[in-house]
Symmetry: C2
Subunit: 681 residues, 2 copies
């Protein structure tokens, strides 16, 4: 008796002997090779496509003959006629192993394929979603041996997929009978398993063979905006993105106003919960339309949000988050039915996963940033700042990660700024001031030209120049500082001191005229002393938070800085550092991570392992509560100067000139800079 044929799978290198005639898919399962299948080996789904390699493979020590696999069969021919099969490909469930063979499993046939999640960081995520598609053939009912349709479906899952424990919520049970009959006792299920080996839950059911793909929503639920990414659960790719304003804004601009609204109004928290859930429900329909998919293909949603939004999403009154000791109702991750969060148009059994919170002020959004940026895997000490209405700050490396939040307020987003506005066409987003002439030039959103370039006026005629957004005000203030229009303490000099008529008097203080009123009625845009103070408050809070983590870690500097948040992507590192928003570091060590929280949500959507990782990671993070830390106040005061009263900022000063000035305003000073702002979202 000759030896069983040897099969070697690439790229895994797994190998073993199987009896001649064994289908490739069966051999792959026996050897623990990651080879996909939805139809369970019936030659329908083609997910198990493989590429046999022929010839001599000295590396593997085998020679593969042309007849190493059994002949191309009728099922493969049928599939090829209908859907097409690329040259050299075989269906793993049909092709049988007859002689020694080397079989390559292409990436698209691997369930746990690696996807590179962003070009910048070139970091790979292994697909491991909680929900997968599975096709089963269910036995028809038999009057003489009566069992429920669901019980026979479970039996089929056990027999055909070795899935033992299966549940289904009522919305699925109520759909089961018509779908089974429409599919003539063949159905495809969306099966959700929060962990490998955990009981499986049927979250959607389609008649016959359903190819998919399944989708998930990665939702970054911010105080101001809600952003969603429709994510393909097979490839991990983003099919569509959509965003809406958070309708809770009508109950309060910042988080503390919403907490107050809940405290002052009976049922107020419930109102806010309803508002945000309705918005999410509409958003899920819109994004499905945008992505041209049936919303019923959306089987999961992952949420990241700050603690107040977290509680309001879950229907928990956030009142405790408004007062010390800032106790969360629950800090662990939450896994529930999406229907419980009011998502009515997605798959009837769709699941929702909310990332864990780190602390009372450091939410699931910060956890998502940690998941995306992996400070715990960093060789050097990294400071990660998610700049929003509240800043989430992480500091760490392989040894230890610390986290806090800091109440920056909405100034960085253009709010509380005299000419401030949201980032929208017409808003000034970049600013440069000539250090000699003190003349400005700028760019507005929606136009690629600088204001001093030919054609700028024509290009901006449609939108006009409507105001200044967050990145614009930061650049303006930093440029004013570099151009000597602003002293170290943040005072704007008058025309005499600065030598430019753009330093205009406004009451007892001065302002810098960035853009005069236009003939067409566009507004006069100045940077006022009040604007400077608002930015100083925000940046001092941000710096103080970062500094507190550095104290806790016992360091005076960090190796690199990552700016996260949608807004972080638009901040120029140099200007951020001139302002003193972040600690001194070489400019090329400041990078942007884009919407890291949203990326973290997508990673959690694509990978159960990532969920487990962040659930464990948040417990290990050292939490620092800024609200009760006396040094926070000290750091906050010292950070009021631009860039800083005491920190030397050597890297910065080596890169850009920072004139040391002090304007005397003759009693016109104001004390807002030392007013400690209440925590706000």
């Amino acid at each position: 008796m000759s030896e069983d044929p040897l099969v070697i799978f690439t790229p895994s290198g797994k190998r073993g002997r199987v009896p001649a005639g064994t289908p490739v898919l069966t051999a792959a399962r026996q050897l623990g090779v990651d080879l996909d299948s939805v139809c369970g080996g019936r030659g329908i789904c083609s997910k198990c496509q493989v590429a046999p390699a022929y010839g001599q493979f000295s590396k593997h020590g085998v020679t593969v003959a042309e007849d190493a696999l059994g002949p191309w069969n009728a099922v493969e021919q049928r599939y090829h006629d209908k859907r097409g099969l690329a040259a050299g490909r075989r269906l793993g469930c049909q092709a049988t192993i007859e002689r020694d063979v080397v079989i390559d499993v292409p990436p698209e046939s691997q369930v746990h394929r690696q996807v590179v999640r962003k070009a910048a960081a070139v970091r790979a995520v292994t697909m491991d979603p909680a929900t997968r598609l599975v096709m089963v053939d269910v036995a028809e009912p038999d009057m003489h041996s009566p069992t429920g349709d669901f019980e026979r479906l479970r039996r089929a899952l056990l027999d055909q997929w070795e899935i033992g424990e299966v549940t289904a919520d009522l919305p699925i049970l109520s759909r089961l009978q018509p779908v089974l009959r429409k599919g003539e006792w063949r159905v495809t299920l969306a099966l959700h398993q929060p962990r490998e080996g955990a009981p499986a839950r049927i979250t959607e059911i389609w008649p016959g063979f359903f190819e998919g793909p399944l989708y998930g929503l990665a939702i970054d639920l911010g105080s101001t905006t809600i952003a969603a990414h429709l994510t393909d659960l097979v490839t991990g790719g983003v099919t569509a993105s959509a965003g809406v304003m958070n309708p809770q804004i009508r109950f309060g601009e910042d988080l503390m106003s919403r907490v107050s609204y809940s405290m002052m109004n009976e049922g107020g928290a419930g109102e806010m919960t309803r508002a945000v859930r309705e918005a999410l429900d509409r958003l899920s329909v819109e994004i499905a339309t945008e992505g041209k998919i049936d919303p019923g293909q959306i089987v999961e949603a992952v949420f990241v949000c700050n603690p107040v939004m977290h509680h309001l999403l879950l229907g928990i009154d956030p009142v405790e988050l408004g007062q010390a000791p800032f106790a969360l109702a629950t800090s662990d991750s939450v896994e529930i039915a999406a229907a419980e969060l009011g998502l009515t148009s997605v798959a009837p059994g769709a699941r929702a996963y909310v990332l864990p919170c780190i602390a009372g002020h450091v939410g699931a959004d910060a956890a998502a940033v940690a998941l995306s940026e992996e400070p715990e895997a960093s060789e050097d000490l990294v400071l990660i700042v998610d700049v929003g209405t509240n800043a989430e700050i992480l500091l760490g490396d392989r040894n230890r990660v610390l986290a806090c939040s800091s109440p920056t307020g909405p100034a960085f987003e253009g709010a509380q700024i005299s000419a401030g506005q949201r980032a929208a066409p017409g808003a000034i987003e970049r600013v440069r001031i000539d250090p000699e002439t003190k003349e400005p030039r700028f760019k507005v959103i929606g136009c690629d030209l600088w204001s001093d370039e030919p054609g700028f006026d024509e290009a901006t005629a449609a939108t006009g120049i409507t105001g200044i957004c967050g990145s614009g005000i930061i650049e303006a203030v930093a440029e004013m500082r570099m151009a000597g229009l602003l002293d170290t303490s943040g005072l704007i000099g008058g025309a005499e001191a600065t030598g430019t008529p753009r330093s205009v008097a406004e009451g007892r203080t001065h302002a810098y005229l960035l853009h005069d009123a236009t003939e067409s009625g566009g507004p006069r845009i100045t940077v006022t002393q009040g604007d400077i103070r608002a930015i100083q408050l925000a940046k001092s809070a941000l710096y103080a938070g970062a500094r507190l983590l550095m104290d806790e870690r016992g360091v005076d500097e960090v190796d690199r800085v990552v700016l996260a948040g949608a807004f972080g992507a638009h901040i120029s590192p140099q200007h951020a550092m001139v302002l003193g928003m972040i600690p001194d570091v070489a400019l090329d060590k400041v990078t942007s991570a884009g919407n890291a929280a949203g990326t973290g949500a997508r990673i959690a959507l694509c990978s159960r392992a990532a969920r487990a990782k962040i659930e464990a990671q948040v417990r290990r993070i050292t939490k620092v509560e800024t609200a009760i830390e006396p040094r926070f106040q000290e750091h906050f005061v010292a950070a009021n100067a631009i860039p800083h009263a005491t920190a030397p900022y050597p890297h910065l000063r080596a890169a850009v000139p920072l004139p040391e000035l002090s304007f005397n305003v003759g009693g016109g000073g104001e004390s807002g800079g030392r007013r400690r702002r209440r925590r706000s979202g």
Copy 2:
């Protein structure tokens, strides 16, 4: 060093040595003695009361000294001052074991106490409810080591109760924070564990120590009426009972009309689901009011119902149950949130349990009857008949149990009877006819006198005599048969043949005048030939179903008969047998089980072991589908005669005279007796 003291617990007999100073509760837990505690040994709940016994116990081989337990302590004194502690009782968590001692655990201190569930059967059920009360002291939040309140609560359950895996649905999470603070970090939880060792779910939470008791609803959801029993989950006793009409009646009187309504009307099933859930919600409030308890103390609901009601309750379209092969969507038991069934006033996390169905026509109500009557434990062969609109029939003993349902229709409940009415004051419920004079006498509901007794007219003046209910018509027909007014085929004889003017002509047939119209306007009540035919149809179906099970089992007689169902309680065994409703058996072998389905629901409410038992038992029951069995039709036809065309009924004939008659109606016969009725509920 002397030996550790010996402690012997009675009635369990468990014994062991513990170090001197060990509290009795601790010793009980170590030795696996069933001693209750809600407060976890803090001297608050008094559930762990024990009665130490002093003196010489030769049986146990110990002498118990007066100082065997440590002295009465301040906690016990405080409890005694506040709530009172019976003489001889100690708090098990306070009293310490110092020397050899015998300690009796009284029944009320046992969690798993036995309760005798009904005097008739003297069968004991061991209390083992899925939900229990547990008090915990939760650590206060610490800003420096932030964790969620829920996470600290879980920690407390692990530390104080060794309960590892604990979940809570959103409605509980949203209540957690205010309740923890109101209770000053001491709370009492309702903890639901479907099985010993399964993850626990918090279903309600009270500030501080909450004594209970917890309640459950045992709900018998019938086609016509919904009956609920508010059951104390500590004692197993019924605190209140209430019933309402099933509002689905407006969509169809019987089950098949409701299935038709669903088939003919888009969204019809949903309408019926809403109607029944709203009724259940109201009923749960009413029964709590009736029982003078807070509906929030209701933490569980157990449902028993026929398959169509089962599906409509769960929101599943019952259309498949209206046609062969009568496939259930799910046949296993269902365990879900009561809120999913629309119960809004019970505890926010309350659970619902629906007993398993046996087959497409044999529902959770039949399973409940099996749970209550335990045919699988019977030494002799018992036939159990749950008489309602549909009859559920069980036949079995230790060896094997069989089940079927039979479409008797509503005649046994007084419907489809010319003077028929529901069982209500004014309805004739008992009938006797003198075999000599052929004169009737009867009793009506609401009056203890027979119609020929003095004072009857006065006693019934208020209600009048309004019609005849199910038990009345059965007795009337049986009495007519015994008095020679009716022949074996079911024909009513005319005045000439019977010799009484009460045999009145009605068209081409005859009727028996039971009660003439009164001066006060009461109706003339006759038993018509049509009434006889309706009863014949119903009883033939019932007999044929029973007979089919007997065939299947290979027997020609049974050892005893149990009549279940609210209606079963009112049927006289003798009259039922004269009619041939049930097979021949000695009259003293026919007993009534009362509302066995409701009793089964209560047992499932009080005992997880009972749930597991019936879940396993339904799989073992042999299901017989009457609708497709050709012999059913044969048995049905043969059973049309009264009592039966071929079965000899020796026990019956030995007990009562049954004149063999055959009236000739001269072509006035009708063929309704052979019209096969559609299955109805």
